[in-house]
Protein backbone atom coordinates (compact mmCIF):
# COMPACT_ATOMS: atom_id res chain seq x y z
CA UNK A 1 0.00 0.00 0.00
CA UNK A 2 2.81 2.33 0.93
CA UNK A 3 4.60 1.42 -2.28
CA UNK A 4 1.50 2.24 -4.34
CA UNK A 5 1.18 5.67 -2.73
CA UNK A 6 4.84 6.30 -3.29
CA UNK A 7 4.52 5.41 -6.98
CA UNK A 8 1.47 7.64 -7.36
CA UNK A 9 3.36 10.51 -5.76
CA UNK A 10 6.35 9.99 -8.07
CA UNK A 11 4.02 9.92 -11.06
CA UNK A 12 2.30 13.16 -10.09
CA UNK A 13 5.54 15.00 -9.46
CA UNK A 14 7.00 13.84 -12.77
CA UNK A 15 3.87 14.77 -14.70
CA UNK A 16 3.87 18.18 -13.04
CA UNK A 17 7.50 18.82 -13.88
CA UNK A 18 6.94 17.84 -17.52
CA UNK A 19 3.97 20.16 -17.76
CA UNK A 20 6.04 23.04 -16.36
CA UNK A 21 8.81 22.44 -18.90
CA UNK A 22 6.30 22.30 -21.75
CA UNK A 23 4.63 25.50 -20.61
CA UNK A 24 7.96 27.29 -20.30
CA UNK A 25 8.79 26.29 -23.84
CA UNK A 26 5.40 27.42 -25.05
CA UNK A 27 5.73 30.87 -23.52
CA UNK A 28 8.95 31.44 -25.43
CA UNK A 29 7.44 30.04 -28.62
CA UNK A 30 4.33 32.18 -29.05
CA UNK A 31 5.79 33.70 -32.18
CA UNK A 32 3.11 35.55 -34.18
CA UNK A 33 3.64 33.58 -37.39
CA UNK A 34 1.16 35.51 -39.51
CA UNK A 35 2.82 38.86 -38.80
CA UNK A 36 6.03 37.49 -40.27
CA UNK A 37 4.51 35.73 -43.29
CA UNK A 38 5.69 36.36 -46.83
CA UNK A 39 3.79 38.96 -48.73
CA UNK A 40 3.35 42.46 -49.94
CA UNK A 41 4.16 45.23 -47.44
CA UNK A 42 0.77 46.94 -47.80
CA UNK A 43 -1.13 43.69 -47.17
CA UNK A 44 0.96 42.65 -44.17
CA UNK A 45 0.75 46.15 -42.74
CA UNK A 46 -3.02 46.22 -43.18
CA UNK A 47 -3.34 42.77 -41.61
CA UNK A 48 -1.46 43.88 -38.50
CA UNK A 49 -2.81 47.38 -37.97
CA UNK A 50 -6.14 47.27 -39.82
CA UNK A 51 -7.64 50.70 -40.27
CA UNK A 52 -6.14 52.26 -37.17
CA UNK A 53 -4.96 55.84 -37.57
CA UNK A 54 -1.21 56.15 -37.64
CA UNK A 55 0.33 59.60 -37.22
CA UNK A 56 3.71 60.52 -38.64
CA UNK A 57 6.04 61.65 -35.90
CA UNK A 58 9.61 62.92 -36.05
CA UNK A 59 9.68 62.34 -32.28
CA UNK A 60 10.50 58.76 -33.25
CA UNK A 61 14.12 59.33 -34.26
CA UNK A 62 15.59 56.99 -36.87
CA UNK A 63 19.20 56.70 -37.85
CA UNK A 64 19.91 54.66 -40.98
CA UNK A 65 22.57 54.99 -43.66
CA UNK A 66 21.42 56.94 -46.73
CA UNK A 67 23.33 54.50 -48.87
CA UNK A 68 23.90 50.91 -47.79
CA UNK A 69 26.78 49.21 -49.60
CA UNK A 70 25.73 45.80 -48.36
CA UNK A 71 22.04 45.00 -47.98
CA UNK A 72 22.81 41.98 -45.81
CA UNK A 73 23.77 44.18 -42.87
CA UNK A 74 22.08 47.56 -42.49
CA UNK A 75 22.38 49.16 -39.04
CA UNK A 76 19.32 50.89 -37.59
CA UNK A 77 19.01 53.02 -34.46
CA UNK A 78 15.62 53.96 -33.05
CA UNK A 79 15.24 56.37 -30.15
CA UNK A 80 12.69 58.72 -28.66
CA UNK A 81 12.11 60.98 -25.67
CA UNK A 82 8.41 60.15 -25.68
CA UNK A 83 7.15 58.35 -22.59
CA UNK A 84 5.04 55.22 -22.55
CA UNK A 85 6.30 53.62 -25.73
CA UNK A 86 5.90 49.89 -25.19
CA UNK A 87 6.49 48.42 -28.62
CA UNK A 88 8.42 49.01 -31.84
CA UNK A 89 7.83 47.38 -35.21
CA UNK A 90 10.56 47.45 -37.86
CA UNK A 91 9.37 47.05 -41.47
CA UNK A 92 11.41 46.82 -44.65
CA UNK A 93 9.01 47.77 -47.44
CA UNK A 94 10.42 45.73 -50.33
CA UNK A 95 11.54 42.61 -48.48
CA UNK A 96 9.68 39.34 -49.23
CA UNK A 97 8.90 39.14 -45.50
CA UNK A 98 8.46 42.85 -44.75
CA UNK A 99 8.26 42.69 -40.94
CA UNK A 100 11.76 42.34 -39.52
CA UNK A 101 11.10 42.64 -35.81
CA UNK A 102 8.50 43.36 -33.17
CA UNK A 103 10.11 44.46 -29.90
CA UNK A 104 8.20 44.89 -26.64
CA UNK A 105 9.84 46.43 -23.58
CA UNK A 106 8.91 47.77 -20.17
CA UNK A 107 9.55 51.05 -18.38
CA UNK A 108 12.92 49.98 -16.97
CA UNK A 109 14.35 50.52 -20.46
CA UNK A 110 14.81 53.80 -22.28
CA UNK A 111 13.28 54.08 -25.76
CA UNK A 112 16.51 53.20 -27.50
CA UNK A 113 17.29 50.25 -29.74
CA UNK A 114 19.90 49.41 -32.31
CA UNK A 115 19.75 46.35 -34.56
CA UNK A 116 20.95 45.13 -37.96
CA UNK A 117 18.52 44.31 -40.73
CA UNK A 118 18.65 42.83 -44.24
CA UNK A 119 17.42 44.81 -47.23
CA UNK A 120 16.70 43.22 -50.62
CA UNK A 121 16.62 46.52 -52.53
CA UNK A 122 16.36 50.28 -52.10
CA UNK A 123 13.17 51.14 -50.22
CA UNK A 124 11.71 52.74 -47.13
CA UNK A 125 12.44 51.34 -43.69
CA UNK A 126 9.30 52.02 -41.67
CA UNK A 127 9.16 52.06 -37.87
CA UNK A 128 5.88 52.00 -36.00
CA UNK A 129 5.93 52.85 -32.31
CA UNK A 130 3.04 51.94 -30.09
CA UNK A 131 2.36 54.53 -27.41
CA UNK A 132 -0.58 53.33 -25.33
CA UNK A 133 -3.37 52.88 -27.84
CA UNK A 134 -1.77 55.25 -30.30
CA UNK A 135 0.46 54.34 -33.22
CA UNK A 136 3.25 56.59 -34.47
CA UNK A 137 5.13 56.20 -37.71
CA UNK A 138 8.44 57.37 -39.09
CA UNK A 139 10.46 56.15 -42.04
CA UNK A 140 13.71 56.61 -43.95
CA UNK A 141 14.62 55.88 -47.54
CA UNK A 142 17.71 53.69 -47.84
CA UNK A 143 19.47 53.22 -51.16
CA UNK A 144 20.87 49.70 -51.33
CA UNK A 145 23.88 49.15 -53.61
CA UNK A 146 23.94 45.38 -53.31
CA UNK A 147 20.89 43.52 -52.00
CA UNK A 148 21.50 41.09 -49.16
CA UNK A 149 21.38 37.80 -51.05
CA UNK A 150 18.14 35.96 -50.41
CA UNK A 151 17.22 38.88 -48.26
CA UNK A 152 14.09 39.23 -46.23
Amino acid sequence: MLRRRFLQLIFRVTAGACATVLCAKKSLADWPEKHFSKGDFADSFQQLFGDRTIDYSEAIRLVLPEIAENGAVVPITISSDLADIQRLYIWVEKNPTPLAAEVTFDASLAVYLTARIKMAESCHVVVIAQQGEQLLRNQRWVKVMQGGCGTG
Binding site: K25, W31, N95, F105, D106, S108, Y112, A115, T151, G152
Partner: protein
Protein backbone atom coordinates in the same frame (compact mmCIF):
# COMPACT_ATOMS: atom_id res chain seq x y z
CA UNK B 1 26.19 26.58 -26.78
CA UNK B 2 27.80 29.89 -25.85
CA UNK B 3 26.18 31.75 -28.72
CA UNK B 4 25.38 34.87 -26.68
CA UNK B 5 27.82 37.64 -25.78
CA UNK B 6 26.68 40.34 -23.38
CA UNK B 7 28.55 43.57 -22.61
CA UNK B 8 27.54 46.63 -20.66
CA UNK B 9 28.89 50.11 -20.11
CA UNK B 10 27.84 52.92 -17.86
CA UNK B 11 26.70 56.10 -19.60
CA UNK B 12 25.75 59.30 -17.77
CA UNK B 13 22.06 58.46 -17.53
CA UNK B 14 21.87 54.86 -18.65
CA UNK B 15 23.49 51.48 -18.56
CA UNK B 16 23.98 50.49 -22.15
CA UNK B 17 23.76 46.79 -22.95
CA UNK B 18 25.10 45.20 -26.10
CA UNK B 19 23.99 41.77 -27.17
CA UNK B 20 25.68 39.74 -29.89
CA UNK B 21 24.24 36.37 -30.85
CA UNK B 22 25.99 33.95 -33.19
CA UNK B 23 23.30 32.59 -35.49
CA UNK B 24 22.99 32.08 -39.29
CA UNK B 25 19.53 33.76 -39.50
CA UNK B 26 18.81 31.97 -42.80
CA UNK B 27 15.46 33.00 -44.23
CA UNK B 28 15.10 30.00 -46.54
CA UNK B 29 15.73 31.97 -49.72
CA UNK B 30 19.50 31.60 -50.01
CA UNK B 31 21.03 28.94 -52.25
CA UNK B 32 24.08 26.89 -51.52
CA UNK B 33 26.75 28.33 -53.87
CA UNK B 34 28.06 24.87 -54.82
CA UNK B 35 25.01 22.60 -55.01
CA UNK B 36 22.50 25.33 -55.87
CA UNK B 37 20.05 23.83 -53.39
CA UNK B 38 17.97 26.11 -51.16
CA UNK B 39 19.34 26.45 -47.64
CA UNK B 40 16.47 25.69 -45.24
CA UNK B 41 15.17 28.55 -43.11
CA UNK B 42 16.92 28.77 -39.78
CA UNK B 43 16.39 31.93 -37.76
CA UNK B 44 15.76 33.11 -34.21
CA UNK B 45 12.09 33.78 -33.61
CA UNK B 46 11.99 34.74 -29.96
CA UNK B 47 14.40 36.64 -27.80
CA UNK B 48 13.67 37.30 -24.12
CA UNK B 49 15.67 39.51 -21.74
CA UNK B 50 15.06 39.35 -18.00
CA UNK B 51 16.42 41.58 -15.26
CA UNK B 52 16.46 39.89 -11.84
CA UNK B 53 13.87 37.38 -13.06
CA UNK B 54 11.46 39.94 -14.51
CA UNK B 55 10.96 40.12 -18.27
CA UNK B 56 12.01 43.57 -19.51
CA UNK B 57 12.24 42.96 -23.25
CA UNK B 58 10.83 40.45 -25.71
CA UNK B 59 11.55 40.49 -29.42
CA UNK B 60 9.79 38.51 -32.12
CA UNK B 61 12.12 38.32 -35.09
CA UNK B 62 11.78 37.33 -38.73
CA UNK B 63 14.18 36.27 -41.48
CA UNK B 64 14.81 39.95 -42.30
CA UNK B 65 17.21 40.29 -39.38
CA UNK B 66 20.87 40.06 -40.31
CA UNK B 67 23.11 37.10 -39.63
CA UNK B 68 24.59 37.19 -36.09
CA UNK B 69 21.99 39.55 -34.62
CA UNK B 70 23.39 42.49 -32.70
CA UNK B 71 21.26 44.64 -30.42
CA UNK B 72 21.86 47.61 -28.14
CA UNK B 73 19.41 48.83 -25.55
CA UNK B 74 19.59 51.08 -22.50
CA UNK B 75 18.58 50.32 -18.95
CA UNK B 76 17.48 53.38 -17.01
CA UNK B 77 19.53 52.13 -14.09
CA UNK B 78 21.33 49.10 -12.82
CA UNK B 79 22.85 48.15 -9.50
CA UNK B 80 25.88 46.04 -8.77
CA UNK B 81 24.82 42.42 -8.59
CA UNK B 82 21.78 42.82 -10.85
CA UNK B 83 21.37 39.81 -13.06
CA UNK B 84 20.52 39.97 -16.73
CA UNK B 85 19.29 36.76 -18.32
CA UNK B 86 19.01 36.41 -22.10
CA UNK B 87 17.49 33.49 -24.00
CA UNK B 88 16.52 32.77 -27.58
CA UNK B 89 14.54 30.12 -29.42
CA UNK B 90 14.73 29.53 -33.17
CA UNK B 91 12.40 27.98 -35.75
CA UNK B 92 14.14 24.58 -35.41
CA UNK B 93 13.41 24.67 -31.66
CA UNK B 94 17.08 25.12 -30.83
CA UNK B 95 17.72 27.51 -27.97
CA UNK B 96 20.41 29.04 -25.84
CA UNK B 97 20.66 31.31 -22.83
CA UNK B 98 23.25 33.34 -20.96
CA UNK B 99 23.45 35.28 -17.74
CA UNK B 100 25.30 38.50 -17.01
CA UNK B 101 25.92 40.05 -13.61
CA UNK B 102 26.48 43.81 -13.39
CA UNK B 103 29.68 44.84 -11.62
Amino acid sequence: MGSIKIRSRQLDDYTEIKLLITHPMENGRNRDPISGALIPAHFIRDLVVELNGKIILTADLGGSMSMNPFFTFRLKRSETGDRLHVRWLDNLELSDSAEYVFE
